[in-house]
Every structure is written in structure tokens, then in C-alpha cells.
Amino acid sequence: MKEFLGLCGFNEKEIELELPRVEKAFTKLGITASDIEQGKLRLKTYYAIELEGVRKIIRLVLRECINSLLVKDEGVEKIIYGFMCPGIDLISSALACKSRKVYAIHHSWALHIVVGCILGKLEGILEAAEEKWLKAGIVSHCANVKTLVGPVMLGLFPKPDLLITSGFLCETAPKTLDLLYELYNIPVRYIDAPPDRELGEYSLPNDRVAPMAALSMRKVVQAVQEIVGFEISDDLLTEVLEARNRQEAVMGRIKAVIENSNPLPLSPALENIWTCLGALPLNIDGIEEATEALSTLYIELQERVARGIGVVEKDAPRVMAILPMGQTDPRLEQLACEVGIAIVATDQSVVMPPLGTSDDPYVKYFIARLNGSMGLPLKKRVPLIVEGCRKLNIDGVLDRYHVGCRSVAADALLIESAVKRELGIPVLLLEWESFDPRVFNLNEYKKRLEIFKTMMLEKKNKT
């Protein structure tokens, strides 16, 4: 265990201090010695832990996962879970700034990484949810919500005092929380705004949907304040938002290095780990610590680039992968590297420039966040992806579409045809579940990725 924690970036002093907590949390999860061995192997195989920045980031993620499992044991009085919920990053950080007796988290992301990606131990959690209303099979319930319901059913996560979600991208999350309310009496609040912008509105300031979402979030914050018994002021939220923006700026720099370097300096398997920091419930100091960890990674990546170190060969075919990435399993992304494919970008890189401005931190937040690729209508999203591919000199698109998400999966075929038509480059469609490691099929994926690579090289050679 000590070696495991060391690989996760804990120093000796921290290991001594944290060991009992980690053991306690892992016992809850049913983590065995062989799971720890598997975790060590995965860290060494998939996660570039030779980089100090990576270790710092994993340390923060592991620490948060442990915190979330031990909240009740450690005297936290009020627990709030956000789920599929823009805004929870601000709310949780604001709460963390003001009290240690309150804990709010977008809980599943840290769990995905530690229990799914590193320890490979998510099956039991998914099955616990499937025994309830999130059954397996062709209905394709999103496994992300299973990672919320499963831990609550298994008693891994305590019953929270409040659940918050939104319906910007799906109905599954709100419906799941609705059932948690009806069946287990867990209070629920929703941050909503109808995603009904028309095409012409994207070239105008977002003065309709963003303010609506902001009002909805304010209402939820009122409910949070009533539960925790103290105020979350606009000034505090502004402070958090600014700290988060600084963090995002560093993330943007990392993304730019990955997109523009040859050879690819970092495995795409790490993307959900470094981007996860944006969702952890860190107070301002914590956000600064996370930003510093990201800066370390950024510097190390620059060094790698300067020395020509890559995770694939130089001039490997450059691929844009469509979101969401493998959230609970690093193997597909790693396999792409092993086959010699450089996933240099995701469609997270393609964003409609947000228009409009506001002094209201809530409105400001939503203006910036409602223009990402996944939330755009097809007629905006598809050309944006095509344009992004063109700009980044992409050789092929990997659309591993997440069947549990109607919103993004439904776009896959039209993205494929547009990319082929407009750019003449290959597209590999994989129907999969971003949050369910059980779908991973090494032989099938390897074969398809190899063919994909061959097609990209042939196309490159012709041109």
C-alpha cells in the first residue's frame, strides 16, 4: 500500500499520515492486496507517473476520493452531491472555502479514476445500480449514473443531504435523482435551462439561456444555503470563478502542447485525470495547489517536447477523438498509443466562441460554459468539428460514441459522413460505454484501430 501511495504522489510523511484513512476507505470499497498490485501496475503502465506533475495530480484525485468515502466518519455534518451538474464546481469550492463541516462534490469523477481507471474495481458498483432501475441491456442506461446509484446502494457513499443535477445534456441524470428522491427520500434540486437556442442565436450574446440557467442555479444555491446554514455570496463565487479560470488557463496551455507537438508527448489516457481537477471540491488554496500541479505537468511536457520524447512515434497519424473519453478505463486510449495513433485532441477543443458578458458570476459562468461541442445542435457541432480537424491538421476521427448519452451518440453518424465528405479522412466509429470498463474488448478494438491507422496512413501517403 505504501508503494501504491508513493506512486500516487504522496511523500513519506503523508503516507504515514494518510495510510490509515486510505486503508479504511479501501476496506469499504472491498479493495484487496491484489487490487492494489493491479493499481500499481496500471499506474506504471498507463499513467506516466515518472512525471512529477502527473503524480501531484493523481495525489489530489486520490485524496478527494478518500475524502468522499470517509466524510461521515470524519465528522462532516452536511453532504451535497452534484451530478452531471455545471455549477457544482463553483458551489463545492465556495462551500469548501467556508466550512470543513460541509462537503460537496461532483463525486463520481474521483471515484471513476481511482476505483475505475487505477484499481479496475468498478464492476460491483455498476452491478449494484443495475439491480435497481438502471438495468443492463439494450436500453443503454448511462453507466455514469450507475456510478452514482451503485455507491449509494452499497453504502459506500453516505446518503447525502442534497443532490443537485441538471438536464443540459440528458434526462437520465435528472430522472435518476428523481427516483432517488422518491424511493430514498433524498432531497433533489435541479439547475436547468431549456437547450433551445436557434442557429442564429449562436452569433449573438447569450442573453436568454445563460441568464435562465443562472437564475436556476441561484435558486439551487438558496437551497444549499438553507441546508448548510451560511451564505454563499456573489463575491465568494467570483473569487472561486477567477481561481478556476486561472486553473483552466493552464489546462488550455497543456491542451495546446498536446495538440501541437510531434510526437505526442502525453497519453490520452491521462486526459480525464488532469481535466478532473476542474471538478474537485477544492477551496481557493486547493485550486491554487491544483493549478500548480498542472503547471508542473505543463513544464514537463514542454521539456518532453524539447527533447523529442513522445508516447507514439513521430509523425504518427493525428486523431481527434469525440467526447466523452474513457472515464473509468484507460485501456482504449492507451491501446491507440500502442497501435501508433496519436490522439492529439478531443472535440473539447472545438467551442463556439461564447458571446456576451455580465458582472453576475452566475451568468458569466454559464455564458462561458454553454458553448461546448457536446451541447451544440448538430448544425453547429458538426461544422465546428470539421473545422477543428482542418485547423489541427487531423488525419482521422475516432468517434467512440457513448451509447448511454443520447445527446452525443445520436450525432455520430452525421459527424462521420460530414468528416468524410468535407475532409476525405477516415472515421472510426466505436459504439461503447464511456463509464463501463466491461465493454472493453482488446482484440476487437486493436484490430479496428490497426485498420484505422492503415487507412489514415494510406490517405496521408496519397496526399
Binding site: 432501475w133 424511493l183 435551462a193 443520447r406 445527446s407 445520436a410
Partner: protein, 380 residues
């Protein structure tokens, strides 16, 4: 007699609409779900047509060339019909009003938008309506829709025209409600299939004509409603959608000896329980009537409990002995709710059968067997 009149009217309707279009009248389509006020369209001088086809495997399969199969077959049908343009209603419309309800129907509208130069108005439906700002949002969208319709048709939507339109559609709602509630009797004089077909006809027929027909049919049924008491198990049908043409499950239930006496369906059946208040600010009335005073669809927030309580009321009022939950494949919200409903109904000793269907022909035998077994259980 009335059925024959209606059949003739529906056969001639596409030609009538084409003729109206030639004279400059706009035909405006909208997706079902009962969130689009037909009154607004009608008051603009345009002809509203609810696009609610379903049940046929071909259009749903045709859509698989552009969307994967985790989009529900009803939404896929709306895509497939527009792509294939075999159904005249789907090809003749001049504008689409797309209520942004569930992800499936939202995606159907996006696919239309992607392929078409058609004017599309996205009518955002607030997923909750406890707060003033949510009601104002919906009201704002309706006002914008009014402006858009005025520009599009070149006609003014006056207060008087609005009131006339509301009155007309209220009359239709009242008649459908009266007809539906006839089925509370121990001798229902109209079958679920016939009622739903009438309901579907009301989406396409001229509304003035339809009111006349419904009125006559209702008077006939009222007189007939004195027949022999039926012994068939009385069934509540719950589900996301019964498209126009999606009649297989209804027929199988009837053939197995079950009697659907009431439906709780979100799409494809006109919402007829309440009327729109025709006094005061008409937009407030529309917001109230279309958003607030109604049983929420499963995509709405806090809807599960409210929908269950509504189902319990229907079970009591219509003397229901069993529930058939008819969901479309990959409809994640209804699938989640089915767990809740079956648990809660079981606590009350009310049997429930869950059926999933994708408009395919290959599972008809399986559906038949399961329905027959369920009816046998209900018969005791």
C-alpha cells in the same frame, strides 16, 4: 356514419392542404407532446398539423442511416418520415415548431434542422415550473412564437382570433374528455383503439370539422353506453408515446381479452383533461394550461411521484385491475420509471406488465404471449 365522414375527410385532407398552400396559406407542423399551443398557429391563419406517425418499422429504420438505434423509434420515425417524404404531411409543411422536451425528440428536430432549409422554431420547455422565472421563460418563448408566426404568415394574431382559436380547441378537448370518461362505465362504448384513432385524427383534420364529428360521435356513444356489462379486465395503459399507426399492442391487448379503459400517454394523444382559460391574459393562460395545469411528462423534474399519483387516481376512477406499461425501446426515462411504478403498484397488489417495443415485426409473437399471460393473471 361519422366514421365514414371522417375517413373521407382524412383521405382528402392532404389535397385540401395542398390547395390551401397554393392559395398562400401556410401549413405548420409540430411535434407532439402537448406543449405546442395549436391555438397560436390556428390564430395566425396557418393550418396546424401534429406530426405523430409511429408504429411502422420502415421510417424508424430509414432514420438509422443518420442516427444510431439508441434514439427511440418514435423520434426516429419523425426523422425517417422527413427523409423519405413518403407521407404527404411530412413533406408539405412550411415550418416546424419543435418542442424541446426529451433528448430523443430534440435530436429529431436537430436532424431536420441539419438537412433542411425549413424554418424551425425551437420551443424550449422549462423542465420545472415552480418559479416565476421558469413561467416567464415559457411565456417569453410563446410570445416570440407568436411574433414569428405573424411574420411567417403575414397575418396579425389579434386577441379576438386567439380567443376564437382557444374556444375551438377547448371544445375539442371537452369532447375528447367526455368521450374518454364514458369508459368509466362498466360498458365502455368506445374501445381504446377507436378513441386513440379519433384523437389522432384530430391532429390532422380541419378542427372545425373535427369538433362537429366529435360532437356527433359523442352523442351516439352516449346513447350506446347502455350495453351489456363486459367482464374483460380493465386496463390502464401507460407509456411515452402512441404514434399514429402504432396500434399493434392495442390490438394484441384487445385480442387477448383485455379492455384498455384509459391511457396515460405523453406523445401522440391530445391532452384533454383541462381547458385553456379564455379570460384575461391569454399568454398566462397558455403557460398555465400547457405547462402548469397538467400531469408532467417523464422528462420533467419531480415528475415521477406526480405521475404515479395521477395513475392511481385513474386506476380508481376507471376501476382498473391492471396496468400495462408500454415503453419504446431506449426511452431511458420511462424505463427508469417503470421500476418505480411496478414496485409501488405491487405494494397495492395491482399487477403491472412492462412491454418494450421498437416497431419491429420480429417480437410480435413474444408480445402476444406476454400480453395473453398477463390478461389471464388479471382474469384470475
Amino acid at each position: 356514419m361519422q366514421n365514414e365522414r371522417l375517413d373521407i375527410h382524412l383521405r382528402e385532407r392532404p389535397a385540401q392542404l395542398e390547395e390551401a398552400k397554393r392559395k398562400g396559406v401556410k401549413v405548420i407542423g409540430y411535434f407532439p407532446g402537448n406543449y405546442v399551443p395549436e391555438e397560436l398557429i390556428y390564430a395566425s391563419g396557418a393550418i396546424p398539423v401534429c406530426l405523430a406517425n409511429g408504429g411502422s418499422p420502415q421510417p424508424a429504420a430509414a432514420a438509422l442511416s443518420v442516427v444510431p438505434n439508441m434514439i427511440c423509434p418514435f423520434a426516429r420515425t419523425q426523422i425517417g418520415e422527413r427523409l423519405s417524404k413518403k407521407d404527404p404531411y411530412y413533406s408539405m409543411i412550411d415550418m416546424l415548431v419543435a418542442p424541446i422536451t426529451c433528448q430523443h425528440l430534440k435530436k429529431a428536430a436537430e436532424v431536420w434542422e441539419y438537412f433542411d432549409g425549413l424554418e424551425i422554431f425551437k420551443l424550449g420547455i422549462p423542465q420545472q415550473h415552480k418559479n416565476d422565472f421558469e413561467l416567464e421563460y415559457f411565456g417569453g418563448r410563446l410570445r416570440l412564437l407568436k411574433d414569428r408566426l405573424q411574420t411567417f404568415t403575414g397575418n396579425n394574431i389579434t386577441a379576438e382570433k386567439m380567443r376564437e382559436a382557444v374556444e375551438l380547441y377547448n371544445r375539442m378537448r371537452v369532447l375528447l374528455r367526455q368521450m374518454s370518461t364514458l369508459r368509466k362505465a362498466s360498458t365502455p362504448s368506445i374501445s381504446a383503439l377507436d378513441f386513440i384513432k379519433l384523437n389522432h385524427a384530430s391532429f390532422y383534420a380541419d378542427p372545425v370539422f373535427m369538433v362537429e364529428v366529435l360532437d356527433s360521435v359523442y352523442r351516439e356513444l352516449k346513447q350506446e353506453n347502455q350495453g351489456i356489462k363486459i367482464e374483460s379486465p380493465r386496463i390502464l395503459l401507460v407509456g411515452p408515446s402512441i404514434g399514429k399507426g402504432d396500434y399493434q399492442v392495442l390490438e394484441l391487448i384487445s385480442a387477448a381479452g383485455g379492455e384498455i379503459v384509459i391511457e396515460e400517454i405523453c406523445e401522440g394523444v391530445r391532452y384533454y383533461w383541462n381547458e385553456i382559460d379564455n379570460r384575461g391574459d391569454i399568454f398566462q393562460s397558455l403557460v398555465k394550461g400547457y405547462l402548469v395545469d397538467r400531469v408532467p411528462c417523464a422528462f420533467m423534474r419531480y415528475s415521477t411521484g406526480e405521475r404515479f399519483n395521477h395513475a392511481l387516481r385513474l386506476i380508481e376512477e376507471f376501476n382498473v385491475s391492471g396496468v400495462i406499461w408500454y415503453e419504446l425501446l431506449c426511452c431511458e426515462t420511462y424505463d427508469s420509471e417503470s421500476y418505480f411504478f411496478s414496485r409501488k403498484l405491487s405494494e397495492r397488489n395491482i399487477p403491472m406488465l412492462t412491454l418494450e417495443y421498437d416497431y419491429g415485426t420480429d417480437i410480435a409473437g413474444q408480445l402476444k404471449t406476454r400480453i395473453e399471460a398477463f390478461i389471464e393473471i388479471l382474469k384470475g
